[in-house]
């Protein structure tokens, strides 16, 4: 008796579960007439379906979910506003930004916030395949020209294409600027040499070219700039050797004193 009733109960439960299952799929097929509204995860209704039923699919390239305004995606540098201060390079934890600066012979121009531009960038490359999207470079940028955009779909076929160049100088222009600067230095050196030879002894302490790059922001170094430049010009006949020693020396000297000095620097710059 119990076996028989079990048998019929099993059939009944089979029929019932089939009916329920069919009803469920029918419900979904019926609500597939419309698509779901795009919800941000902040939405309180996000995890409860509620009234928001229908097709889930987002036809990606054709439609996109809006990204948060403070999202960190692809980097963009507005070259016209860049003063080539090199701060982003120094702060970058993964060294994905590479800048090849050329000193200008004078004031190049002003950024949109009024900061003076004294350097050209022959190269301003950001390798997005190395980037860890920490956003530190955008926080240190004094002119806020380096920003993280909302563009997140920049996949490429070759990893080399992930290096985005922002420099606005063509190689020819860059060479021209370099030559102009060399010429300028040479002229100045000639002038100084004729004026006084005795100053050289003093400058041996400073030795490096590096102080030159920094002083742009450091008021205390400013008076020494012209003198340093003279020094520098003696060894470098070619440009590259001059810039190369700059880097290794720059970081160790810069780091320990970096943090405490920031507030005064920025104030000075703005003034």
């Amino acid at each position: 008796m119990s076996a028989i009733s079990l048998y019929f109960k099993a059939i009944l439960s089979g029929v019932k579960s089939t009916r329920n299952g069919m009803a469920l799929t029918w419900k979904h097929a019926w609500s597939a007439r419309k698509s779901r509204n795009i919800q941000q995860v902040q939405d309180p209704e996000y995890f409860s379906a509620g009234e928001n039923t229908g097709i889930f699919t987002l036809e990606y390239p054709h439609e996109k979910i809006p990204v948060p305004v403070n999202g960190r995606y692809q980097l963009h540098n507005e070259m016209d506003d860049c003063i080539v201060c090199d701060k982003c390079v120094k702060v970058c934890p993964v060294d994905c930004i590479e800048i090849d600066p050329i000193k200008a012979t004078g004031l190049v121009g002003h950024t949109s916030d009024g900061s003076p531009i004294r350097l050209y960038a022959a190269k301003f490359d950001i390798d997005m395949s190395k980037c860890c999207f920490c956003g530190l470079c955008t926080t240190v940028c004094p002119t806020e020209c380096l920003t993280m955009t909302s563009e997140y779909d920049f996949s490429v076929f070759d990893v080399k294409e992930h290096t985005f160049g922002f420099a606005n100088l063509s190689p020819e222009q860059a060479d021209e600027k370099r030559q102009l600067y060399e010429q300028f230095v040479a002229e100045k050196e000639a002038m100084k040499a004729s004026a006084s030879v005795s100053v050289e002894a003093l400058e041996n302490k400073e030795g490096d070219e590096k102080p030159v790059a920094k002083p742009a922001f450091k008021p205390s170094f400013k008076p020494k700039m012209p003198i340093a430049k003279i020094e520098e010009s003696i060894p470098p006949v070619v440009e590259n050797p001059a810039t190369e020693p700059e880097k290794p020396a720059a970081k160790p000297a810069f780091k320990p004193s970096f943090k405490p000095k920031i507030p005064p620097k920025t104030q000075d710059d703005h003034e």
């Binding site: 048998y7 059939i11 089979g14 089939t18 299952g21 069919m22 469920l24 799929t25 029918w26 979904h28 097929a29 609500s31 597939a32 779901r36 039923t53 229908g54 097709i55 889930f56 699919t57 036809e59």
Partner: protein, 362 residues
């Protein structure tokens, strides 16, 4: 006869195109997806893109396979299904029925069972463990489910007193001879033979045939290797089941057969239970809807209308098959056998007994 052959060939080919597209879209909607959207408007050309891809693919024969049998197996499967269409009346009249043999239904069951041979051959000659397992499962499944399928067909045959499918079809509407009463009970005194429409369909003439139709439908799902009875293919455990080793157009042929048998069992179900090629509208007073929507048998219009109604009803059944497929999970082998031998066969036997008694009382 030649017309029927050509039409059946075109029908099977079109069916696979329509079936694949509808199945993709339907399954997508049931799962809150969109399905194909990119190729053509609403993804309509997706199936053709896939067919072009299949055409270009290499027809690979495994080194260890028994080459000749391996190559022949898909043809056996396809021909056994295509052959079954020869006795199917696709409309009223004689144009759209390949063979008007009196033994039509018997012949059809015989030809369909050759399908088992093809599947077993395909799996065995592939020399692949998954293929062989799929083939063995398939053979066991098809042999088991032919019993409830045969019994449910038998009930209809008992009530119709004919094995000729065209005659079984013709009984279910206004072109039938003799008087018919509502629900097949003379006592009601409501004569429906002249009204036709849904009132003279087999499921209404003998209401208990509805339960038999469910038995038939479940068994036909198993015959067509459709989910939830797709253990011969069971892609999550057996890769592709018996057709694991097939590729390119030979695989497409197997696919064609799979959708072909879906159409075949749907048409068969419609012919046996749901009024064949008759329209569902009865004659009501001066609104002779049945006369208007059925035309005259033998004329071009009548044939076209019959074909239209048959296809409409068949595709509703195909949609139902798809609905079931995307709802129910696959049965285990023991559950499969349990359902066939312990549930469907007793129910079918019970209803065969009832139909026998019913036909005596009529």
């Amino acid at each position: 006869m030649w017309i029927a052959l050509l039409i059946c060939l075109v029908l099977i080919s079109l069916n696979v195109v329509v079936g694949v597209y509808v199945e993709r879209k339907l399954s997508a909607f049931m799962q809150d997806r969109l399905g194909p959207t990119e190729v053509g408007k609403w993804g309509l050309l997706q199936v053709f893109a896939d067919l072009l891809k299949l055409l270009q693919k290499e027809d690979i024969v495994p080194f260890a396979a028994q080459r000749k049998l391996f190559l022949a197996a898909p043809w056996i499967i396809f021909l056994s299904i295509f052959g079954a269409f020869s006795v199917i009346p696709l409309s009223s009249g004689v144009w759209l029925q390949g063979s008007q043999t009196e033994m039509g239904l018997m012949l059809l069951m015989g030809i369909i069972s050759l399908d088992t041979l093809g599947i077993l051959l395909a799996g065995w000659t592939s020399n692949n463990k998954y293929s062989l397992l799929g083939a063995i499962r398939s053979a066991a499944q098809l042999v088991s489910y032919e019993i409830p399928l045969g019994l449910s067909i038998l009930s209809v045959v008992i009530l119709s007193s004919s094995l000729n499918l065209q005659e079984i079809a013709g009984q279910q509407g206004i072109f039938a001879e003799g008087e018919q009463y509502l629900f097949g009970i003379k006592y009601t005194g409501i004569e429906v033979g002249s009204m036709g429409g849904i009132l003279t369909w087999n499921v209404v003439r003998m209401p208990f045939l509805f339960f038999l139709f469910i038995v038939f439908f479940i068994a036909s799902l198993a015959e067509a290797n459709r989910a939830p009875f797709d253990i011969p293919e069971a892609e999550s455990e057996l890769v592709g089941g018996f057709h694991t080793e097939y590729s390119g157009m030979r695989w497409a042929l197997l696919f064609l057969s799979e959708y072909g048998i879906m159409l075949l069992v749907s048409i068969l179900g419609v012919i046996l239970f749901w009024g064949a090629w008759y329209s569902p509208f009865p004659n009501i007073g001066r609104f002779v809807l049945a006369d208007w929507t059925n035309g005259t048998p033998g004329t071009l219009l009548g044939t076209a209308l019959g074909f239209f109604w048959l296809m409409m009803k068949s595709y509703i059944l195909i949609a139902l098959q798809m609905w079931v497929r995307w709802t129910l999970p696959r049965l285990r082998v023991d559950q499969l056998m349990y359902l066939s031998w312990k549930v469907l066969t007793p129910i079918a036997l019970f209803f065969v007994a009832i139909s026998s008694v019913w036909s005596l009382l009529k």
